[in-house]
């Protein structure tokens, strides 16, 4: 294995989970997410010489997000917009969001499943900042670079995303919280 390949595997492959997590939350489909990540890793590999060092994870996630945007464009052009319809039940988690594999889903709490479903209903631009901030723990500056918007927009989207999530999911926690204060 040559040196470039070794460096790429050592630096990029440890972040495959971050890549697939972002892709699954963006696409809401396991098969689509795999394709997006596969494409993203190959683009990263080809562009690896242009990577200027530093934290590779935001760089990779930028590529993942770009691949997802491209795949959305392809789908729209081909008329393959994934809309739930009467055949949805045949397709399982391909179109309707059903979390990860059936086995691990069965082991997860109701609360976790409900939360997943609520996150999945957030509009793309709010869902992505929330995932990048709360699951990947990235800074506003990094999120701004990945999503290609100014930092102020990241802040207002994050604020809206949290507001929506609070409204849709946090009802019960809110009542507990008011007891606590």
């Amino acid at each position: 294995m040559d040196d470039r390949r070794r460096r790429f595997e050592a630096q990029a492959l440890p972040h495959l989970d971050a890549a697939i997590n972002l892709a699954r939350w963006l696409t809401r489909s396991n098969a689509d997410a795999d394709d997006v990540v596969q494409e993203a890793m190959m683009r990263a590999w080809r562009a690896f010489d242009g990577f200027r060092g530093g934290d590779i994870r935001p760089w990779l996630l930028t590529i993942v997000r770009n691949c997802w945007r491209t795949s959305l464009g392809d789908r729209k052009r081909r008329g393959h917009v994934a809309m739930p319809d009467e055949n949805t039940q045949l397709l399982g988690d391909e179109l309707t969001y059903a979390g990860p594999s059936p086995e691990s889903a069965a082991m997860r709490s109701d609360e976790g499943r409900k939360l997943d479903a609520v996150i999945a209903t957030l509009p793309d631009e709010f869902r992505e900042v929330l995932i990048l901030r709360e699951m990947e723990d990235l800074s506003y500056r990094e999120i701004a670079a990945i999503t290609d918007v100014p930092i102020g927009t990241v802040m207002s989207r994050l604020n809206r995303a949290r507001g929506m999530l609070r409204e849709k999911w946090l009802g019960e926690v809110e009542s507990e919280a008011s007891h606590a204060l």
């Binding site: 080809r46 976790g112 996150i119 506003y140």
Partner: protein, 257 residues
């Protein structure tokens, strides 16, 4: 009415403020019950997102697939000698041990004969079309006595059909599809959350690999009697091989009857 410092509070909780601004937010929190409440909520959301929501992880198949694609784009002069058979021997598909499958699919990945490319593209596209619900099933049935005659009437082909629910492959129907303009009979199985399309067409002696992977879909080919079969799905290659073994067994039973 939200406090006008609500957004600054979020920046504070996100660790985005310098020490002086952070101290100012902390002082503000002492006097603003609205912001105290917001802080509790944001922290509750944060711990829920980190502890209760799904954090998806890459499965080993995806890892292997990426490595295989990297291999394809990494110059490796010794590779031709490592995998002398670009086309694996036809009859060998029945074995199906994981290692063999993996080696075969890797060899295939590296040295796929260009001539098979259009067919594999066509199969993948037909599979994708069917998943996009444009055309998954013409005859919806879990009963082989419905699906088999329907295929015979509409595709003029009589591939073996059976419901393998007990083995994890539920028959959900059949349809007619065209691959490179050739009519094929398709039986559709459901395996967990995955759809497996099994194409069958009249064998015309084309050279085919045993395995292929395209856009993350695994494809298994085999021949039986006067038909060529191809199963495709996003489930694991082992699962697809298991279904292909069941169907091969069925072909033999059909032939004896």
């Amino acid at each position: 009415m939200p406090c006008e410092r609500a957004q600054q509070l979020e920046a504070y909780l996100d660790g985005e403020l310098d020490a002086a601004s952070a101290a100012a937010v902390e002082r503000h929190l002492e006097t603003c019950s609205e912001c105290r409440k917001a802080k509790v909520q944001i922290e509750a959301l944060r711990s829920a997102l980190r502890e209760k929501a799904s954090y998806h992880r890459a499965d080993p198949q995806l890892r292997a697939r990426i490595r295989a694609s990297l291999d394809k784009e990494t110059p490796r002069p010794g590779v031709l000698r490592l995998f002398p058979g670009a086309r694996a021997v036809w009859a060998g598909a029945a074995g199906g041990a994981t290692a063999t499958a993996l080696a075969a699919s890797l060899a295939f990945f590296l040295l796929m004969p260009a001539a098979n490319d259009p067919l594999i593209t066509d199969i993948t596209n037909a599979h994708l079309r069917s998943l996009a619900s444009e055309h998954l099933i013409d005859v919806v049935s879990t009963d082989r006595h419905t699906v088999k005659p329907w295929l015979a009437a509409h595709a003029d082909l009589s591939p073996p059909v059976a419901d393998f629910s007990n083995q994890g492959f539920k028959l959900i129907g059949g349809r007619v599809d065209f691959l490179e303009g050739v009519r094929s009979a398709v039986t559709v199985y459901r395996h967990g959350a995955h759809i497996v399309n099994v194409f069958a067409w009249a064998d015309y002696d084309e050279a085919l690999p045993d395995f292929a992977t395209r856009n993350g879909y695994h494809i298994v080919f085999w021949k039986s009697g006067n038909l060529t079969f191809c199963a495709i799905s996003d489930t694991s290659i082992d699962d697809i091989l298991a279904l292909s073994r069941l169907l091969k067994g069925l072909s033999q039973t059909d032939a004896r009857e």
